[in-house]
Amino acid sequence: MNFTRRETMAVSGAALVASVLPIKLMASTTDLISGITGGKEASGDGINLTAPEIAENGNTVPISIDAPGAVAITVLAAGNPTPGVAKFNFGAGSGSQSCTTRIRLAGTQDVIAVAEMADGSFSAAHQTVKVTIGGCGG
């Protein structure tokens, strides 16, 4: 496939943005996680966050969280105007500490889940979801 000069510029420009962006997101992801844990270390074990790699529309992005033994799971979206999404508190009647819901993402960004375990420790997971902007807005 042959590229014109303009296309080559656009591709390398996109590559540049892509290489810079994750670093910026990672930083705020860390900040957001420690905001929930109160500065405590969060391990990556015992929590599962399932989100699509690519969302066809940011309006309705299905996500699932699962953290066996958690008392609460907080979900954050690092790149939204306000990062808070939801906090799930699990009671004695819960059959598992898991939930599936649908969330809004303002653009490509990190989705974060932080679980507070019964012993007061924390676990966190995050995943980048690419939000596509379709060619057919009609």
Binding site: P81, G84, F88, A92, S98, C99, I103
Partner: protein, 109 residues
């Protein structure tokens, strides 16, 4: 009460004692974020469901605090343990003070 709000839940009619069951809930609600503007440039005020709870025979199953990042027509799928026959109570709390409730009973088979 916001217009067109209707809760829907899907709970099995029966379960074995101690069984873990899957519950699905969906409430029709526009979940206005408070960030959009109308045709005249005025901000449309935030109007969302801000909390959802599920209880079984008075015991908490799940209690969710919700932000505007929850999609329109909020949907939740989760699991509950059913130790005995009884009743699930689902409650949604609206920003405007309205409370929507739905109940489903389950038998032990």
């Amino acid at each position: 009460m916001a217009k067109g709000v209707k809760p829907r839940v899907k709970v099995p009619k029966t379960a074995a004692a101690g069984e873990t069951i899957t519950i699905k809930t969906l409430i029709s609600h526009k979940m206005e974020t408070g960030r959009r503007k109308d045709g005249d440039g005025n901000v449309i005020p935030r109007s969302i469901i801000n909390r959802f709870t599920c209880e079984f025979n008075g015991e908490n199953v799940v209690d969710v605090n919700m932000e505007p990042a929850i999609s329109v027509n909020p949907y939740f799928q989760f699991e509950a343990t059913v130790p005995e026959a009884g009743e699930f109570v689902f409650t949604w709390y609206d920003d405007d003070g309205s409370v929507y409730e739905k109940k489903k009973s389950i038998k032990i088979a």
